[in-house]
């Protein structure tokens, strides 16, 4: 016997201001199967939950509908509440009267009408709900961190310190990431390498951390607690066990025309190289696109000079398969390409550079040994113009709509450092707004202006015109004075926007983790679950989730680590019982479902089927409920409607649609 209870939440005024909750209760009472309906100010509160529990017990309810916020918010809460009161947790349905109704309506009549319809649909569904039991699955006590920048290193260190094995997969030859390229860090001006390299060493030396550098994740299957990952270790052509890191090979290599990635292309590197002197591991790789031996078969200089006999031109890529309980994405960022910003003459003048390039120029290990000089003629610049928001906060399609967040601070840092070291250099910064909301950030910026005399101009630059004498004429506007400016500069620095590393799309697809329109990975909840992906077992660390500076990245990396540790500490995980199931009697075994299954959860068996007394062997689909994530792709691919998602069966969904259309 069915007895449905309906509980309508006011959510303070969130719902009640736009929905007549009393009317919803009245209308719900008229629905088939409903034996109890009431409203309350905060259903999720202890008192609200108590009302639900009491009604379940007193009226012996067989199912409940809670009309409240999104199920993503409180479905788990109400399921737990029902379970405590003795009801199967899957006999709970949520009608989303907040996000899908009150928040998007202004008119109370319209809002109420929709609320009644949504409630009706949920009641129609819960009438067809069946009790489901969650299963259990194990947890592999090992984590994978994709990306070996500061975010990945910090996450790995924190997980490893908690006692779990961690593998870092880094696609370049060394860990360190973008932070390794930086000279000084705001707002304290410590040397970036001084604070990063010890962490790199810690990571390499940690007995629980295993580095896969020059490697890429190729394939991911499985699910939370039990991922199987294929990692391609690209051929280094150098035997890591034999190499002593002496560096002779790099000195002797005759092919030295490749652009150094580490120095942002401002200097050359040999075909056999480590990205930078403090690289970890300190084992070079041979770039096969540059190596004369690999390209023509002649040369072999490095092999000749290598005392350790570590050079191996015949090395091949190696694919290793490893199992993990959790995966952290820490793929970081790249600076955008400036093709759309010809007005700043980046492609025309060597003296128009990006901030990251300036970072290398300022660095003692950089292409100019730390001397500030023009790349065109090596002369020291006298007038430098910084242009902020190049590609950030851009309303048009040519740039990014978001604020890259770090540029205001690093520009203040650059301006300050230049004025400190070269007091006779004039520094002008064009900005839209100066954004410094961080600890000691605004003080830092004020110092740049007040103590170091950096000339901040509110306004944008329309054009940078290279002149015949080698100078750069900057056409800008001063919005405060309301006048056009023309500044003759000999160096222009562009604070180019940052964007997620382009490889993240591929990784997100492999992980079935969602990404937003800007290719940043989406959080499970922007406020309450900011370091988790909506895909269970996948966590986010660093800029792959959104622009952030080093302190924020490190905090988030630690937060992601603790989430991973929380997961790995469990021995068993409850599995979602809302998985697909095939009706063996009707299944054609046509493979349509397996073709669309993103989790590889469907296989086929020849099974003896008893169809009302007729026994026949059929090829039928079998769902591995541990692998199935309940996405429902198979249910729509199946032409005969054989695949059904438990908890979201075709009949339940049709009943909801029918209730809405009634």
């Amino acid at each position: 016997m069915h007895g449905i209870g309906v509980f309508v939440c006011h959510c303070g005024s969130n719902i009640a201001a736009t929905v007549d909750v009393k009317k919803v209760v009245e209308m719900a009472k008229l629905e088939p199967g409903v034996v109890h309906a009431e409203d309350y100010q905060y259903m999720c509160s202890e008192a609200g939950q108590e009302k639900i529990a009491q009604a379940i017990k007193e009226k012996n309810l067989s199912g409940i509908v809670v009309c409240s916020c999104s199920p993503r918010m409180h479905e788990a809460t109400f399921r737990k509440c029902a379970e405590k009161a003795g009801l199967n947790p899957y006999m709970v349905e949520i009608a989303n009267l907040r996000e899908q109704c009150s928040w998007i309506h202004k008119d109370i009549e319209e809002g109420t009408e929709k609320a009644v319809i949504l409630t009706r649909a949920a009641i129609a569904k819960v009438n067809l709900n069946t009790s489901l039991e969650a299963g259990e699955s194990g947890v592999i006590k090992r984590a994978l961190v994709i990306g070996g920048g500061i975010a990945g290193i910090q996450t790995a260190l924190d997980i490893a310190d908690a006692g779990y094995e961690v593998d870092i997969v880094e696609k370049t030859p060394s860990i360190g990431g973008k932070m390794a390229q930086l000279d000084k860090t705001f707002p304290t001006l410590d040397c970036s390498a001084c604070i990063l390299t010890p962490k790199m060493v810690d990571a390499a030396a940690h007995e629980k951390i295993n580095l896969y550098t020059y490697s890429e994740v190729e394939k991911v299957s499985g699910f939370v607690g039990d991922f199987t990952v294929e990692i391609r270790k690209k051929a280094r052509y150098v035997n890591m066990d034999k190499c002593t890191g002496c560096g002779v090979c790099m000195e002797k290599c005759p092919s030295k025309k490749a652009k150094s990635e580490f120095n942002s292309g401002l200097s050359n590197r040999p075909a056999i190289y480590t990205p930078f002197a403090q690289a970890i591991p300190n084992v070079p790789v041979i770039d096969p696109t540059q190596c004369i031996k690999l390209k023509t078969g002649k040369c072999g200089v490095c092999e000749k000079f290598c005392q350790a006999g570590a050079i191996d031109y015949k090395q091949k890529d190696e694919v290793i398969t490893q199992k993990y309980g959790a995966i952290v994405v820490a793929t970081g960022f790249e600076v955008i390409k400036l093709d759309n910003y010809d007005e700043y003459a980046y492609s025309q003048s060597k003296d128009v550079i990006t901030s990251l390039e300036l970072e290398r120029i300022m660095n003692a290990a950089g292409p100019t040994k730390g001397h500030l000089e023009r790349l065109s003629d090596g002369k020291p610049p006298k007038n430098i113009v910084f242009i902020q928001c190049v590609g950030s906060r851009c309303a048009e399609n040519k740039g990014k709509s978001y604020c890259s967040k770090i540029c205001c601070m690093y520009t203040a840092k650059h301006a300050m450092l230049i004025r400190d070291k070269y007091p006779d250099v004039n520094v002008t910064v064009f900005y839209i707004d100066v954004r410094t909301p961080g600890k000691n950030f605004d003080e830092f910026y004020r110092r740049a202006v007040e103590e170091y005399g950096v000339n901040y101009v509110k306004g944008q630059v329309g054009k940078v015109a290279p002149q015949a004498d080698g100078s750069l004429l900057v056409h800008g506007v001063d919005l405060i004075d309301g006048k056009q400016l023309k500044i003759s500069a000999d160096m222009v620095v562009l604070a180019a926007a940052i964007e997620p590393n382009p490889t993240v799309r591929n990784i997100a697809t492999m992980l079935t983790a969602s990404i937003d329109t800007n290719n940043f990975l989406t959080e499970a909840h922007p406020k309450l679950r900011p370091v988790e992906s909506p895909t269970a077992g996948v966590f986010l660390s660093g800029v792959c989730q959104g622009p952030k500076d080093i302190p924020e990245t490190v905090s988030q990396a630690g937060a992601a680590a603790i989430k991973v540790v929380g997961l790995l500490a469990k021995d068993k995980l409850m599995t979602n019982p809302c998985t697909a199931k095939a009706d063996e009697l009707l299944c054609n075994g046509c493979s349509a479902c397996a073709n669309v299954c993103p989790y590889g959860a469907i296989s086929y068996e020849d099974k003896l089927i008893n169809d009302h007394g007729i026994r026949k062997t059929h090829r039928v689909a079998v769902v591995n409920s541990a692998l199935c994530q309940g996405c429902g792709a198979c249910t729509v691919a199946c032409p005969s409607g054989v695949m059904d998602l438990q908890g979201f069966s075709n009949r339940q969904i049709i009943a909801e649609v029918d209730a809405i259309c009634r």
Binding site: N506, T509, L586, N588, G589, S591, N595, P639, S640
Partner: protein, 321 residues
């Protein structure tokens, strides 16, 4: 033709096949029907001519469960359906000995009647050994002559070609019959206004008597239990409520076979009401071609269907970029 019959006899007598799946004479010369022949003697009823339009590949679903090997006669276009059925694990390749037979275009009685011929009693000139230029039609009102080409099924005017996609041996010659573009009719409908489109489909689909012939003949409609017959979805009652649901039957069917339909044209051939059902399927095929690159279901067993496959080159992925 004699050569074909001798070969079939030989196959049956040698025991290398247990039966032949072909066509036998009907009540008239123009309505042969699919049939099994279990012995050399039974082959006296065997016929293969311009009226043997029926696609026999779907019969192999049942024949795959029979003892031994069935020799099945497949025209070039039928082999696409057979491949698709292999891909969907509905037929067993080893249970079929495929004789790929030639085809000179299949005839439509409706197309003959449309040329003003009434009271047909006999038709000559459809023999596969003949030149297939002219049909001599005996009617209650005397003998008439019509052109073979003008009497062909629509699908033969947009023929997929003389190649068999799968076979064990080939027999008989084929002729080129392609003389029209496959998507012209679809484009005409695409260019109609929404109202006119709706009127067009309402008019065409209102003719439907829900005899299910289209579904029963369709090689893609091979479900053990069709959703329209199943009690699981309450759809078997729904389909009869009003004419709108009647139309939904065809639209749902078109969705179900999308990406799997080989455009064999059997639906339109068997429709007793003359509804151009193939146009639904062709619209899907045209869209698939345009959005995902040209795709022909059943051409290759190994290829994945664009609708059940996701690649980073897909238009959806492009849009996300």
């Amino acid at each position: 033709m004699q050569e074909l019959i001798s070969r079939l006899k030989e196959l049956l007598e040698s025991g290398s096949v247990q039966r032949v799946l072909g066509w036998k004479k009907g009540d008239f010369t123009f309505n042969p029907e699919p049939a099994y022949f279990n012995s050399a003697e039974e082959l006296s009823e065997f016929v293969y001519d311009g009226f043997c339009g029926a696609n026999l590949s779907k019969y192999m679903i049942k024949a795959s469960n029979l003892e031994g090997v069935t020799a099945v006669l497949l025209k070039p276009c039928d082999t696409y359906s057979f491949n698709q059925l292999i891909k969907e694990h509905r037929v067993i390749r080893e249970k079929a000995y495929i004789i790929g037979i030639g085809c000179k275009g299949k005839l439509s009685l409706d197309a003959i009647k449309a040329q003003g011929v009434k009271g047909i009693t006999d038709i000559k000139g459809a023999e596969i050994d003949g030149d297939c230029n002219e049909l001599k039609v005996e009617t209650l009102y005397g003998e008439k002559t019509v052109s073979y080409k003008d009497s062909m099924l629509e699908r033969c005017h947009v023929c997929k070609g003389k190649e068999h996609m799968i076979y064990d041996e080939l027999m008989l010659e084929s002729a080129d019959t392609l003389d029209a573009d496959r998507f012209t009719d679809v484009e005409i409908i695409e260019n109609l206004t929404s109202e006119d489109k709706f009127t067009y489909f309402q008019r065409e689909l209102s003719k439907c008597i829900r005899c299910n012939a289209c579904r029963n003949v369709c090689p893609a409609c091979s479900c053990r239990k069709c959703v329209f017959d199943s009690t699981k979805f309450d759809s078997e009652q729904k389909a009869n409520v009003d004419p709108f649901h009647e139309s939904m039957f065809h639209i749902i069917r078109a969705f179900h076979v999308a990406g799997r339909c080989t455009d064999c044209g059997e639906c339109s051939r068997v429709c007793p009401q003359g509804i151009p059902l193939h146009l639904f399927n062709r619209k899907f095929i045209k869209d698939i071609n345009e959005y995902y690159g040209v795709f022909q279901a059943g051409e290759d067993i190994g290829q994945t269907s664009p609708l059940t496959d996701y690649t980073l080159d897909d238009m959806e992925a492009e849009e996300r970029r």
